[in-house]
Symmetry: C2
Subunit: 314 residues, 2 copies
């Protein structure tokens, strides 16, 4: 039995993207999780170790393979494809937990992509969606693909629940970058989701759907004014920003600097902005400055909109 | 003073288009209103006559220029552009009233486009939006552009209230046609609008906005499966179809024949379908057959998705 580890990388991602709650996500560059797998004689998927950002055993995650998105996704794929023997897994967390950066999604994707490489006939990457969704289901308590889909195939992805496991890649302009800043604060996705109201008026609903449609048409036509005029979340953002100090300051500053839009990444606490490439580094620095002036450490990334998805490293 | 009449034609249109309530509309070919105007010495806009489909004086419309969308739009433009003297207007209704085909919108558009041609410096056609909206406001009691916008500039138009008077033309595939069938039934748009509930759940709202976005991406990629999977109205259609007999039969038949989607045009009673060009005539015939077998006369049209907007005829 070939006993070498195969390692897959899966990037972090921005869920919701202001206008597409639960149905729009964007891969980012430079942050992600890695999962290494190898075949072993013992049946099933076992997690040998989970490492934190510093390379130490992770203090916050269980090694029970029924309680980690990487092993759950891996196991679902392995079973569906009748993989023989068992799998031993190492997980390297590169994304902070509950950061709004798709941490659990990236683990699920890296787990599935790594195990896929162990199959005699690996599946095309988009066909891993049903399995990574199994992982995400464990993490968020529902079927939401706005992190797993971009982490899997890269770029910006339209992935509404009604069409899953099919997903649609969105053509994106090359002159726009994403900026993502993660402050050292923690927000629980499931609690954040459960805290949302379920009462909306028809006019709110119409306004929000017009923003999603206008945003997509703006991307299609590379019409910066149309993008900017539609990058609004009048439904979710107002209910969630209270949990992220400095949000209003950061958004105001980003928009004053010329950003096309700025909102929470997923349920936060990370904040993202879209802007033209040339101002992206300055927007990132400004966002981090504001956190810093509030005594909050942060990390930031600038990515193209067509940032790559998951891949096998070795 | 040049005393010749100038005549403008403005096409009928399909409002809402199943997925874009109040924000998406489509021009159709072969039906529309005409408005003829000429300068006269008496100030203001006066309606000399309104003709019905048979060329007789119209029994159902007032000649008071404050009570017709054509004259209201014309007057708004004439005043804004400081038109000298007055205007005498003839209106030729080619679209049945309260048909769901944008009858009042086409009159407003034809009125504005005709008067625009009388100006020393006519405006670009899209800049007539504020004036045609004045007409539509009178007709529907609100600012809804999903009929005036396509009637004015043609094709398929994204025109949400939040972005008016700006509108966005949508790139459309050439292999898809619209089918529109108008039965001899009457539905009042304003009453239909007021009868809508204002309570929607978050999941309904998310589902519907995903359909609008998926429909637009389907058009962009000419992905027929994506268009078909998203041409659903789970919000408005269920509340309105009860007023149009045969709707369920017609929709079922159209879909069985291979249509991509079928819904009410505006608030009905007209019904439209989108389908590939080759089956469009048969779908139209089938829809009319079903009305006929219910002892309801109907008229039908097949149009390309990029059907032309309003123009000056003479």
């Amino acid at each position: 039995m070939d006993n070498k580890y195969i390692t897959a990388f899966a990037p972090a991602s921005i869920g919701n993207l202001a206008v597409g709650f639960d149905m729009l996500g964007l891969a980012i560059e430079g942050a992600g999780d890695r999962v290494s797998v190898r075949k072993v004689s013992e049946k099933g998927v076992s997690i040998k170790e989970i490492y934190d950002l510093n390379g130490n055993p992770h203090a916050g995650l269980s090694k029970n393979s029924n309680e980690n998105t990487a092993s759950i996704a891996a196991q679902a794929l392995w079973q569906a494809e009748n993989g023989q023997d068992g799998i031993e897994m190492l997980i390297y967390k590169g994304i902070p937990l509950q950061s709004g950066m798709g941490s659990s999604a990236a683990s699920a994707v890296a787990g599935a992509v790594a195990v896929n490489a162990l199959l005699d006939s690996p599946l095309p990457i988009a066909e891993l969606m049903p399995y990574v969704l199994e992982g995400e289901k464990f993490a968020s308590g529902g079927i939401h693909a706005d992190n797993v889909a971009p982490s899997l195939i890269g770029g910006m992805v339209f992935c509404p629940p009604s069409y899953l496991p099919k997903i649609t890649s969105i053509d994106v302009p090359k002159n726009i970058s994403s900026v993502l800043v993660h402050p050292d604060l923690i927000v629980n996705t499931e609690e954040s989701r459960n805290g949302l109201t379920n009462n909306y008026s028809m006019s709110q609903w119409l306004e929000q759907q017009s923003y999603l449609a206008g945003f997509l048409l703006g991307l299609q036509h590379n019409d910066l004014a149309l993008i900017k005029n539609n990058m609004h979340d009048v439904i979710i953002e107002p209910q969630r920003v209270g949990s992220v100090v400095c949000f209003d300051d950061i958004k105001t500053s980003a928009m004053e600097m010329g950003a096309l839009g700025c909102s929470l990444s997923g349920s936060g606490p990370s904040i993202f902005a879209l802007c033209e490439n040339d101002i992206a580094p300055d927007v990132k620095a400004k966002m981090m400055d504001i956190f810093n002036s509030n005594n909050i450490n942060s990390q930031g990334w600038v990515s193209p909109l067509n940032s790559s998805g998951a891949y096998v490293e070795s």
